[in-house]
């Protein structure tokens, strides 16, 4: 493989405009699969959630899952789409070992939802993303390549296929070309995926977990020279498993394409796989316009024709639109515009909602999620909701602070323990002996030693200069390794020096 020359992002944009579109696959959380009655639970033993239909045994026939159609319509409505009065499934024919029927039952020119839009916000600016379509389809099985160093098919000794995923209902949401200032493209892509995650999550139709693959984003990107109207060749980047990776993948592909074009080369039309560790992409399956899926209407399924009454009933079940909800939450919480922008930017809106619901004040919830948790997310490269700590746990820890049993500083250690799986916050406090000491006997002795150790400060306090009390409190805290009740320490100092 030749080493690619990358052009720095900013420089690439001086010569090229990115043309970008996004495809998002959402796994629905229906109890059963798209075309059969098999359960859909994630993580079951391989090949235990299968039947003649999803294994494509000879003679088996599909039946549409009505709940999946309902979810698709609600999703389409949430994306401001039109809902088809009549649509069909189509067969997308191609051979692949993890695809039982050797065709995917999808929709082609008659999607259930089309012509929608969403508005996403980046740095206080709103961008409209147009939705071309949202259609229903079934998922493939999952191949596991055993042996070899890469875990990929090349070099593997053998491959295993798990058909549990075969037939899981998917909705594919396809944008039109996203028209934004070039330098904003990576951030807008990230904001869009994040927005769709919140939107769909709010509908309750999917777990929308990028780390578990229930939300998968593909980035389609090409470059065209500035001023040109001729579209370049696109790459389709898959395996983008976090919001942050969406942004990184767009940036990387812009740099990579620019490098190829600058050198007079030709971009290959292909699928690329994003590499989480390096932030780069590697080539996957080569695609070409000659790929011919021989689409035709699925003759085994009756057309889907949702009545207008039903569509309106479903529209009435939609949760409040995100913009309205945000405005309401901002008012309820008393957040500034900046607070709100930071909250959304960090992907922490729903986390704060849940933390507040669990009994924490909005200010305290914001403090933890935008401070401590945002920092941890940044350092680890995980999305903020994938840190291994739940809003309920944050609320529990804040509760311990409010009860005076720990302080903010000790709380960080409690977070460490909870994330490390050492138990509940309560258990971590006990096991790590983190509880603050407010026992006057122990504190009084430490205060006495601090007064002895710093007679100057003691003298000043006696003289009415209470500002230096902090020095004595600090000394006590140091001695007690941060586990002293600072308020009580202050009171004791003032009592003793009055």
């Amino acid at each position: 493989m030749t080493t690619e020359t990358l052009v720095p992002f900013d420089e690439a944009l001086t010569r090229y405009d990115p043309v970008m579109g996004l495809e998002i696959h959402i796994e629905l959380n229906t109890a059963t699969k798209m075309f059969c009655g098999c359960p859909t639970e994630f993580g079951a033993e391989p090949n235990t959630q299968v039947c003649p239909v999803c294994l494509a045994l000879p003679g088996a026939l599909p039946v549409v899952n009505a709940k999946a159609v309902e979810s698709a319509i609600r999703m389409g409505l949430a994306l401001n789409c039109e809902i088809a009065e009549w649509c069909r499934f189509a067969r997308k024919n191609y051979f692949y070992p993890d695809m039982p029927k050797n065709f995917q039952t999808s929709q082609y020119d008659e999607p259930i939802a089309f012509d929608g839009w969403v508005d996403v916000e980046v740095d206080g600016e709103t961008f409209r993303i147009e939705i071309e379509r949202a259609h229903m389809e079934d998922d493939t099985g999952k191949a596991l390549h055993v042996g070899g160093s890469t875990g990929r098919i090349h070099g593997a000794d053998f491959s295993l296929v798990d058909y549990n995923r075969a037939g899981i209902p998917l909705i594919e949401i396809v944008t039109r070309t996203i028209e934004v200032p070039p330098e904003k493209a990576p951030a807008v892509a990230r904001a869009y995926v994040s927005y769709v995650r919140d939107l769909i999550g709010g509908l309750g139709v999917s777990d929308v977990r990028m780390d578990q693959g229930s939300l998968r984003a593909d980035v389609n990107l090409s470059l065209k020279p500035k001023g040109s109207t001729v579209l370049g060749t696109r790459s389709e980047t898959k395996n983008v498993n976090s919001f942050r990776s969406v942004e990184r993948a767009v940036r990387f592909e812009i740099s990579r394409h620019a490098g190829i074009l600058d050198a007079g080369g030709k971009v290959v039309q292909e699928t690329r796989h994003f590499q989480e560790d390096t932030g780069t992409t590697l080539p996957g399956r080569e695609k070409s316009d000659a790929d011919d899926y021989r689409y035709f209407p699925e003759p085994d399924l009756a057309p889907v024709s949702p009545s207008r009454e039903w569509v309106e009933e479903l529209r009435a079940t939609l949760p409040e639109p995100p913009a309205v909800r945000r405005a309401r939450l901002q008012a309820d919480w008393g957040f500034s515009d900046l607070d709100m922008r930071d909250t959304i930017g960090a992907g922490a809106l729903d986390l704060i909602v849940a933390t507040v619901e669990a009994g924490t004040t909005p200010q305290a919830a914001k403090k933890w999620w935008l401070g401590e948790m945002a920092r941890r997310a940044n350092e680890s490269g995980h999305d903020i909701d994938a840190l291994g700590i739940t809003p309920e746990q944050v609320a529990e820890i804040q509760g311990l602070i409010d009860a005076g049993r720990i302080n903010d500083k000790l709380a960080r250690s409690v977070f460490d323990g909870v994330i490390a799986g050492e138990g509940t916050a309560e258990e971590v406090v006990v096991a790590r002996k983190l509880e603050v000491v407010s026992d006057d006997g122990a504190l009084g002795a430490a205060v006495d030693r601090a007064i002895e150790g710093d007679p100057d400060a003691a003298q000043k306090i006696r003289g009415g200069n209470l500002g230096v009390a902090g020095a004595l409190i600090g000394a006590v805290m140091k001695e007690m390794r941060g586990q002293a009740d600072a308020g009580r320490v202050r009171e004791l100092i003032l009592e003793k020096l009055s």
């Binding site: 494509a56 088996a60 039946v63 085994d300």
Partner: protein, 503 residues
């Protein structure tokens, strides 16, 4: 003792109900008959004597206990090898599925089992039901009981021959372009393709999803109606299944009265290409209908000239996709490519499909793949679908003036084995009268109406009715059957040559 193998299903059902005979006796007689004659006929790919006798014994015991049983309980049946039968091999006449034993029952199979009909075995067929002669079976052809040097028709030659050779009173066939009706015509038996969606396709290994339909293969119209009523009805496992009540086909077969019926002769389904002996018997039968009080008129459906072309685009297109699942990954034969170390999954798929499929199947997969290709779709598959719409409209118009349409079922009688094997187009032309019903989803029935003068071989007459009016077929066919048997002084099959009985 009377020969139980010669009895109709209705006669057997009554004898069983009155306990004159037991199901075990009937089943054993048929198993013996299969053993005696199937060496010459090769109607069966798999005989399950043990399973059939066990079901028979069970039914006998339940009857002795006074249990309420289905009317056909204990009457043995043969099932075309294209329907999934749990625990019994299902090959579809293909090497591809050699040794495959389904872990589930087709809905039709499940209904047969639930009603207590002993399943004698699985019948021979053209590979994946692709063919009109049963010569495309990977396991060797079936022979016509009227003349074992000739084809029995296809693809369901096995089911038709089994019934004609008295190896079974009842059989299940499937009909995508005539595979029930044409073998019926060529073997002197009754074959019915119900309205599309009338009988569940769940477990029927698909050739062309929008055309396939399972139906009865019998020796009498009433038997066909009894079996039709048993296997029909809405199935939530088949999205194309009709939710309506099953037409009252048995009552219609018992009514058997054509007085006042308007019957249309389809002008385009006769004349050039139709054997004189076929036309002669057809015309005589129509005269009998007239004499019985039917009003017969000629009807023209000009768009029929596009039907054969449309069929041979739609059918292979759907087949090419339906047969993609046979990839050696989960079931069926797996043949690694010769001389390749460490073959990839793709290479194994390709070599297995090459080894597992016969020439006719490959021919249709190639045709269908081509017809669906980008750039050709509109001209081929798209146009063919438009023809279906036009045909449907023209038939609806025709049925506005008549209750039923009639034509010869097949342009010719049974031809010698090997005669058209190298000329697929000639073989395809034999389907001209049967395929329109599949293209537009209407029901059709083939009834034996005599022997052609030139070769003394059976001729079939086809009745066609509007969608969901299957009962009209049974009423008219039962009436004509009675008129013919009165004229002949017996059944047509009683005139078939005796088969040599092997020991």
């Amino acid at each position: 003792m009377t020969d139980l193998t010669r009895k109709t299903a209705d006669e057997l059902a009554r004898s069983l109900a009155s306990k004159e005979v037991s199901s075990v006796e009937v089943t054993q007689a048929l198993v013996d008959r299969i053993g005696a004659v199937d060496g010459q006929i090769h109607a069966f790919l798999h005989v399950d004597a043990e399973g059939a006798l066990a079901t028979a014994a069970d039914v006998d015991a339940r009857r002795a206990n006074g249990e309420q049983l289905s009317y056909l309980a204990g009457v043995p049946i043969a099932v075309k090898d294209v329907l999934a039968t749990k625990g019994l091999p299902t090959t579809c006449g293909s090497k591809m599925l050699d040794g495959w034993i389904p872990p589930y029952d087709a809905t039709v199979t499940a209904k047969i089992k639930a009603a207590g009909l002993p399943i004698l075995g699985k019948t021979n067929m053209d590979e994946f039901a692709m063919g009109s002669s049963t010569e495309h079976s990977a396991y060797g052809p079936t022979h016509n009981p009227w003349d074992t040097t000739r084809i029995p028709g296809g693809s369901g030659g096995g089911s038709a021959a089994a019934v004609a050779a008295f190896e079974a009173p009842l059989a299940i066939g499937t009909d995508t372009g005539g595979s029930i009706r044409q073998p019926g015509a060529l073997t002197g038996t009754v074959g019915v393709k119900p309205t599309y969606g009338g009988v569940s396709r769940y477990g029927l290994v698909a050739m062309a999803s929008s055309l396939d339909q399972a139906g009865p293969v019998t020796r009498t119209v009433l038997d066909a109606a009894l079996l039709h009523e048993l296997i029909a009805g809405h199935d939530p496992m088949d999205s194309t299944s009709i939710p309506d009540a099953v037409p009252a086909v048995v009552a219609a077969a018992r009514r058997a009265d054509v007085k006042g019926l308007r019957i249309g002769i389809v002008k385009e389904l006769g004349g050039e290409g139709f054997q004189p002996g076929v036309e002669a018997r057809f015309n005589e039968a129509v005269e009998l209908l007239t004499s019985a009080g039917a009003e017969v008129v000629e009807v023209s459906i000009p768009s029929l000239k596009y039907a054969l072309g449309a069929y041979y685009l739609v059918m292979p297109s759907e087949a090419s996709s339906n047969l993609a699942k046979f990839d050696a990954m989960r079931y069926g034969v797996r043949v690694p490519p010769a001389g390749v170390d460490d073959p990839s999954a793709e290479q194994v798929m390709a070599s297995s499909r090459d080894a597992g499929f016969g020439d006719e199947v490959k021919r249709r997969i190639i045709l269908g793949t081509y017809a669906l290709s980008s750039g050709y779709y509109d001209a081929y598959y798209g146009s063919a679908q438009k023809v279906r719409t036009v045909l449907s409209r023209d038939f609806t118009a025709a049925f506005a003036g008549v209750d039923l349409l009639v034509s010869p079922t097949s342009p010719t009688t049974a031809y010698p084995l090997g005669d058209k094997l190298d000329d697929p187009l000639a073989m395809y032309l034999g389907d001209v009268a049967t395929i329109p019903a599949n293209l537009i989803g209407i029901p059709g029935l083939s009834l034996p109406v005599g022997l052609a003068d030139e070769d003394d071989l059976p001729v079939g007459l086809q009745f066609l009715a509007p969608q969901k009016a299957d009962d009209r077929l049974y009423n008219a066919a039962a009436a004509l059957e009675r008129l013919l048997e009165d004229k002949w002084g017996g059944t047509l099959l009683s005139r078939a040559p005796e088969l040599e009985v092997a020991r």
